[in-house]
């Protein structure tokens, strides 16, 4: 009996130290429930609310429409992946010219430390007789597992995005913009912390929808 007690103690201590199976079963981006609401605090002041508004058809596919402030984004979480509707536009002569619209995989489930994916597109559009070329590349890497904004077992994503737009007419040069975002996703909650060069969003409250 004196030998069994330490063994049982060791077994119980081993439980939950690394709940890999819990992470496997958790939804790290729950956008499939209408009414879900995330309230974020912005480090520079104020706050922003993200809500799953409804289900619509976008790009010939049924998706969930998510509102953040005045902006909408479109998501599908199905068949082992999270897809995002990319809607890239370039301003030219006072007009928004659509240059790339497509469903692109945002994340592959399940997440694993060290996993990475890269998506890219090279397109062009003609507006007012001028060719506008658009090159886009996004790399997402799962950098680690840890605690963020008070949530445990969060996956830390590092997302790098590069866009090169070129209005191919006199007086215009290719414009390159590169951004890096650090995003932490919590199990069954979603994004709890996002750090970009311009802002830091921290989750204040989350209310799951139905």
């Amino acid at each position: 009996m004196r030998r069994i007690v330490p063994i049982l103690f060791l077994l119980s201590a081993a439980c939950g130290r690394n709940p890999l199976l819990f992470r496997l079963g958790a939804d790290y981006y729950p956008v499939s429930s209408i009414g879900s609401e995330w309230e974020y605090q912005v480090a520079s002041g104020g706050g922003v609310i993200t809500t799953v508004v409804d289900q619509i058809v976008m790009g010939e596919r049924t998706c969930y429409r998510v509102q953040t402030g005045a902006d909408y984004s479109y998501w599908i979480s199905d068949e082992g992946r999270l897809e995002h509707y990319e809607d890239h536009r370039v301003m030219f002569n006072g007009y928004e010219v659509p240059v790339f619209q497509a469903w692109v995989t945002w994340l592959d489930w399940p997440l694993a430390v060290g996993a990475s994916r890269t998506d890219s597109a090279s397109t062009f559009a003609v507006s007012q007789g001028v060719t506008i070329s658009h090159r886009w590349r996004r790399t997402t890497e799962v950098a680690g597992i840890g605690e963020a904004a008070g949530y445990e077992e969060c996956y830390h994503l590092v997302m790098s995005e590069t866009i090169i737009d070129w209005v191919q007419t006199g007086g215009f040069e290719p414009e390159t913009s590169a951004t890096t975002r650090d995003i932490w996703l919590a199990p069954d909650v979603g994004m709890v912390l996002k750090v970009t060069p311009d802002s830091t969003l921290t989750l204040v409250s989350y209310r799951p929808g139905s």
Binding site: G16, N18, L20, F22, G25, G80, A115
Partner: protein, 174 residues
């Protein structure tokens, strides 16, 4: 430790005990939320059981289960499970009808890889139990078909699985 196994074999030899040496293979299906992204897999287990009585067995085994991605992704989960086992069979003399039960308890090591990454492996206690239909196959071999229910007891969630199995074994007298 390096003397433990030879000593164990020597002790069994000296006692003239019967051993049942077998391998089990089958299909395994995750049950519950942990299987939403992970599909069915294959399992295999090597076991040695001491037979203190014709109906009873006690021993140890080492199992491996390999699961694939439920969809077209490249995730894989590998589970290794050293365990102690026990079994009871109703009609050990039966040539074609020898129902029984088998159970095991041990530790399970789970590792997961996906898209070039891998999560840290986890060690958790686990148990399994199932029914067996044991039958003779000639030349001293016995076969069995059956199923197991298994559960990994991690703190936040228990992860269950169901497996359909075929076992091939042979009694060895030391």
């Amino acid at each position: 430790m390096k003397f433990l196994l030879p000593s164990f074999v020597l002790a069994l030899s000296a006692a003239g005990l019967d051993l049942d040496v077998g391998v089990t293979a089958g299909s395994v299906f995750p049950v519950g939320s942990w299987g939403e992204q992970i599909g069915s897999g294959l399992s295999a287990r090597a076991a040695v059981q001491w037979k203190p009585a014709a109906r009873l067995g006690a021993g140890a085994s080492l199992g491996i289960g390999i699961y694939g991605d439920e969809y077209d992704g490249d995730a894989s989960v590998v589970m290794l499970s050293p365990e102690i086992t026990g079994s009871f069979h109703l009609r050990p003399w039966g040539r074609s009808f020898n129902p029984g039960i088998e159970a095991g308890f041990g530790m399970n090591r789970t590792s997961m890889e996906c898209a070039g990454g891998s999560d840290p492996a986890s060690w958790d206690p686990f148990w399994r139990a199932g029914l067996r239909w044991d039958f003779g196959m000639g030349s001293g071999f016995r076969g069995a078909i059956g199923f197991d229910l298994a559960s990994i007891l991690s703190q936040r969630v228990s992860s269950d699985s169901f497996s359909i199995l075929f076992r091939l074994s042979r009694e060895v007298e030391l």
